[in-house]
Symmetry: C2
Subunit: 359 residues, 2 copies
């Protein structure tokens, strides 16, 4: 009794004041303070002035933990990034999604827990449940078992660019097949027919559809599958792009390929780096196209022709939809797929039919 709150000054430094302290100093009850703060329910102007003044003076900050306790709502959202390898937030593509999530969440008054799961275990998902997040945003590689596990929580969630579509689950994705088609259209229209393709992990929806859209268009315009070379990449990393191109360099030349398409930018740029090191002129000798439009794509030299995937929009939509789910809005309509856009840059040009790699 003696140690506690005998001086206003001390108190506001030593510890955050509570609603109880405010009430005592204002000479009203906790209920009244609570009503004034929340703005609902009645309160007299005098009480209001006094309480608001005290709040200012004591730097009162409502305890969100206590609020969450009674309202059964934390206003926290968990973002789970499922990746096998290291980079999480700093991933060139997923990082942009996370950025947009952060922005939109702040606008809607949510805080964001960011976590990752390297080994695709349930650990971090379970952890988020213990923290009682209001909802979950799941990004990237999502196997069915993880989804089942999370579904069993009964907490709202949305998926962003997951490996696979799942019935009844909101899944925010790009029109990847259409994007693949657009690349094929661009390359064939600029005269390329023999195209070398580096295809990222086909177990992932987006890489699969990008390749599919590409090949379908090629056949559509009468170019045989046999004129293309498809090389599978185990990951979708820069390093793999470089590696594959260095191993396939001979085959690339002998095959008379005039263009390269990779199912994402990092693979494309990895391959491009190898080509540049062999003094291949891009786009004069070889045109290169990627997919995603990561920041890096426009910075590379030569800058990379690619399909822009609106990562920011994906992040923004995921938060908005999740918010509707959390607030139990009735008519939450599943989002349309995002429209991809072709961005032509320095790395592609018309095929010079007479080109040759013989120096």
């Amino acid at each position: 009794m003696w140690e506690r709150s005998h001086s206003l000054e001390r108190e506001c430094i030593v510890d955050n004041p509570t609603i109880k302290e405010i009430a005592k100093h204002a000479g009203v009850s906790k209920s009244t303070v609570s009503r004034i703060i929340s703005g609902k329910g009645y309160s007299s102007p005098e009480a209001r002035d006094k309480v608001l003044g005290l709040i200012e003076e004591l730097h009162y900050k409502p305890n969100a933990v206590a609020r969450a306790m009674v309202s059964q709502r934390t206003h926290n959202i968990g973002v789970l990034l499922f990746r096998r390898d290291h980079p999480i937030a700093s991933h060139p593509f997923y990082g942009k999604i996370v950025d947009a999530v952060l922005l939109e969440a702040a606008r809607l008054n949510y805080s964001i827990f960011v976590t990752t799961d390297h080994d695709m275990s349930y650990r971090s998902a379970d952890f988020m449940m213990e923290k009682r997040v209001d909802g979950l945003i799941l990004i990237s590689r999502l196997q069915q078992n993880v989804i089942d596990h999370i579904t069993s929580f009964g907490v709202p969630f949305v998926m962003v660019n997951g490996s696979t579509d799942v019935d009844g689950v909101i899944h925010i994705v790009n029109e990847d097949e259409e994007g693949g088609r657009m690349v094929a259209e661009h390359l064939t229209q600029t005269g390329h027919e023999r195209i070398f393709i580096i295809a990222g992990p086909q177990s992932h929806r987006s890489h699969h559809l990008r390749l599919k859209g590409f090949m379908t268009y090629m056949r559509h315009v009468g170019i045989q599958d046999s004129e293309s070379t498809i090389q599978a990449a185990a990951t979708s990393s820069f390093g793999d792009g470089y590696e594959i191109m260095s191993r396939q360099w001979d085959a690339f030349r002998k095959g008379g390929h005039t263009a390269l398409f990779a199912t994402n930018d990092m693979l494309a740029m990895g391959a491009m780096k190898f080509l540049l090191e062999q003094a291949v002129r891009i786009p004069e000798q070889v045109s290169v196209a990627g997919f995603d439009d990561v920041d890096f794509a426009s910075m590379f030299s030569p800058s990379l022709t690619t399909i822009r995937v609106d990562a920011a929009e994906m992040g923004t939509q995921s938060v908005r939809l999740l918010d509707q789910l959390i607030r139990q809005e009735t008519n939450v309509l599943p989002p349309g797929q995002l429209k991809p856009r072709l961005i032509v840059r320095q790395s592609t040009a018309c095929s010079a039919k007479d080109q040759s790699f013989n120096d």
Copy 2:
């Protein structure tokens, strides 16, 4: 009474069971369940078996919010990234710090709130306080007033690569001045004397010290300041690097510069892209060196010689130190500055004295 908990199966789907439910089903008191879960205090093997079995069966997940309420500890840490411009998590350098923070936090059983503050206001910091985070990690541009404001909270915090050192505040930084010296040493030892310098915002500690270390070394080996050209950049972005180099291109050539040093990688690569577009051969005609060793630096073509700043270590250390502060360990010693390391790549080579830009 009828609606509630008349079926185990239903319950675990409908809602997370509480300690109370577990207790009822096990025929013991809440206290006993709590003791069994926490592992402290005594409990009979029979009670333990029953309770543990129920926990498994009902998928009981302790409510971290309630725990936080009583323990006055959330086991949550807030990461505040102060930036004027958009990219936050996906920033090539700061994103790596965040990644490491995420990893180390998981190891130490903390969850991470990631937020940002564009306008350098107090808003997100205040918000984190309402969430009652155990501690704060502050990254990048930190003005004194923000630090004062946060200090007034009385919550532990550490700074990472902030704009300025502050007495009594743990600040994790790289030995930037030494790094600047290393670049100067490398460039002079490879025969460069007339060096063009793009200097990032001098209001920020790291850019300032990098330049200082560089210039000091130059003078030390007898190269006059007048032989170098220092160009100030308003931001530390790729775009600014490109812009500056394009505006200064004439001056660059006329000045007989054989090398370029920028106080971070993004500026360096921006400038490099412009040079490459002018068909300047790097490193044959111009050597280029940056600072940070962002992922992109090794991917660029030509890959960039730079100073590696151990961003991961910065992130890891920040969490470890903050954890010590939170746990009120007595002998928390301020961290030593991180050692920079020169990484020589394709963008630098010995100066060819006879070089010329006259095509």
